[in-house]
Amino acid sequence: MEAPLRPILVALGSEARALRLIQAGFRMARERAVPWIAVHVETGGPQLAEDDEQVQVWLQEAQRLGAEIAIVQAPTLAQGLSEVTRSTHAQALLLGRSGDRWPWARVGHSTADELQRRGLDTRIEVLDDRRGSPGPERRGTGFGAMVGTLSVLGACSGLAWLVPREGNISLVLPVYLAAVAFIAHRWGQGLAVLASVLSALLYSFLLETPRFSRVATHWPNLLFFLAMLLAAQAVVGLLHRLRQQAREVQRREVHTASLYLLGRALMRNHTSGQVADTAADHIRRVFKAEACLLFPEGSGWKALPAPSLDPDLPPPEELLPRLDVGERLGDPLEPLSMGQTYCLSLTGTDRSEGVLQVLPQGMAGLPPGTWELLKAFAVQIALTLERLRWLDEARKAQVQSETERMRSTLLGAIGHDLRTPLTAIHGAAGSLLLPGDISDSTRRDLLTMIQDESERLSHLLGNLLDLTRLESGAIQIQKEWQPLEEVVGSALGRMERRQGALPIRVVLPEGLPLAPLDAVLIEQVLVNLLTNAQRHAPGLEMDLRAWDEPGWIHLEVADRGPGIPAGFQDRIFDKFFRLPEAREGGVGLGLAICRAIVQAHGGRIHVEDRPGGGSSFRLALPLDGTPPAPPEGVL
């Protein structure tokens, strides 16, 4: 027996970098052709609602890329992951680093190391992009920071005390430098400067021999003092720049991820309402701000998903020109800040699709760094709206050309098929009225012709009316449970009253169930099908059969005519469609009516070639609902 494929696990948290993990997991799973599972471990610690939401977003994204989803609860990340790894017998586990909060944890106690120690038969891969979370920049303001600074300096001084004396500044200096660098890293620039001054003083008073004698003006001390100050500054500057870079990278990563998610979500939207919902949702999550989209609609404006955020804002038609000339910086995309609210033009490739209003929830407004992202959001939204508009226009154009085509076919059909019988009737009546004798047989011929042609006109008009009413929904289907025999009987009766006996062989098996159908309409279907069969195979035998299967009843009208050429078997059910070589006959409405009626019954109709030549029209009607109880004494 072949062993089941060992899956790949990807551990996901709420961090922005998870997208990279998802992609890596997806790639790895595809390369190895194995399934993959996205795992989220709930450790039960305090969780922000937004984080939860973010996790859901990532899990959905993973699911979209074919991952199975697993959510486990465990006291620690490592324990949860090891449980899942064991139970799924995974071949590899991918995880990021941000679960480890403390720097030292990354050395000894990281989740990865802990998992290694648990002796799993699994390769553990840490996605290390060397851009660890920089964390927020710390400011030395608190009492704790001051105490910390002093303790570090005290510890350094103690350490320096142990160093052999005799002016070994070269040994003491690194100790203090390290201390200042650490303080700069932990508590920021202010305390680092203070620490450098203090360390110079401490050195002069505590460590210089003889102790407590020299003053700070002694030049080596001054030099020491200056060196400490410079070192502290340099360390602080360096750290600051590193932090800046790391933050920038992370910010970009977050931006990319949120843009990507917005793009994906917008792709699934089919209406401007959905776009507005998606946009407001994502802007709320990313910018902590309310958002509202204003679209032109008719002569006014429509605000979605909520009414305009600030009723005092100038109306969009006034706002748009200002936005378009880029009132602020000449950039049409630059947000315009109006009181608390930011307004952006949703500019697509050719014109503005509307206005985006963003109202930050706090009083602080949007941080400057996020404007770029907001602009990118606006472009995404605008392009989506533009895509929807184009789709809509294309659809309208298609409908219009279809309508045009229909109209011209209808006019053509009416022009020919109505005018011909009318001309004949008019002409015949005219000749009957001519003075002079007409032989009896001629008069009879003319009168018969008037009757036949008016019948044809009436038939055509009836079909046109039926189809129009069926399509507009003006005909209500009245389904009643009844034996098929009766409908078949009245259809045959109608045919034969009109044309005398017809060679129709009817096979209705005994014990057919009652079927829920509208007798008038189904009779119409049968009459249309039989009329067609007769028209295309005059004088040849036709077959009408019925049979049932669970849930359905089937009817077949088969003829021995020329059959339907391949490629036309669907189109013959279209309105006004006639086979190219069709002989004199209908206008192409009969089968369209059949299809409309059968579909209104919830059934299907199609045509197939009949073995031995001819065509076979088959309809299936659903036996839906509960059949009524038979009367007593009847099986």
Partner: protein, 232 residues
């Protein structure tokens, strides 16, 4: 005996131009009215033997005219209705109309329906216990039904249904009317009972149940017994 008097209540000029000469040529006496008010007045003053009533009149609904007529006259009324309006037909028949003709109709059909309707009134008083049509013989007195000379056994319900149709003398009976007559009050909802029994009657009394010659279905309206069925 005088020729029967027919009152036409029809507002469409072309239809009147067709109806009046057609009926006159068959030696009926013909009166015509254009509006409902005029029609009702003429019906009162002339007491016609049959009324041809169009449902779409300019001043009043044809159904209201029928209702009013029925308050004092039992004379046959034949409705002229637009095609495919089964619910109108059923309503009119249930209100007491004797028959209906869907437009467009031909002269032959019109005359046949008028004959049936008139026969009904003429024979109403005279009980005609035996009905023969195309090989089918029904003797209401003896409660005996035979097809091509062979006696056919019917169940009690089948016989009651047959009897209800025979008593209508070729007129349409709506589903509701038949259900009430055969199953009694309360049976109106069970149209499928009626259809099942009709199918059984056809199997016993029709040569080919899918080509009924005697028991004609009027889709979504009801049934009629064909009194002029061709023999084999």
């Amino acid at each position: 005996m005088n020729q029967p008097l027919i009152l036409i209540i029809e507002d469409e000029e072309p239809l009147r131009r067709f109806l009046i000469p057609t009926l006159s040529s068959q030696r009926y006496q013909v009166l015509s009215a254009v509006t409902a008010t005029e029609g009702l007045a003429m019906a009162r003053s002339h007491n016609p033997d049959l009324v041809l009533l169009d449902l779409g009149l300019p001043d009043r609904d044809g159904m209201a005219v029928l209702k009013e007529l029925r308050t004092w006259s039992r004379k046959p009324v034949v409705i002229l209705s637009a095609r495919n309006q089964e619910c109108d037909k059923v309503r009119a028949l249930d209100q007491g109309a004797d028959d209906y003709l869907a437009k467009p109709f031909g002269a032959a059909e019109l005359l046949a329906r008028i004959r049936v309707a008139l026969r009904h009134t003429l024979q109403a008083d005279v009980a005609k216990p035996v009905m023969c049509s195309g090989g089918l013989r029904i003797d209401l007195e003896q409660r005996e039904v035979s097809l091509e000379g062979r006696i056919v056994k019917l169940t009690a319900l089948e016989y009651r249904l047959l009897e209800a149709l025979v008593r209508r003398n070729g007129k349409v009976a709506t589903h509701g009317q038949l259900l009430a007559e055969v199953w009694g009050p309360g049976g109106e909802g069970n149209t499928h009972y009626l259809r099942i029994y009709m199918a059984m009657l056809r199997r016993k009394l029709e040569a080919d149940p899918t080509r009924p010659r005697h028991f004609i279905t009027e889709p979504n309206v009801g049934y009629r017994l064909n009194l002029d069925a061709p023999g084999d």
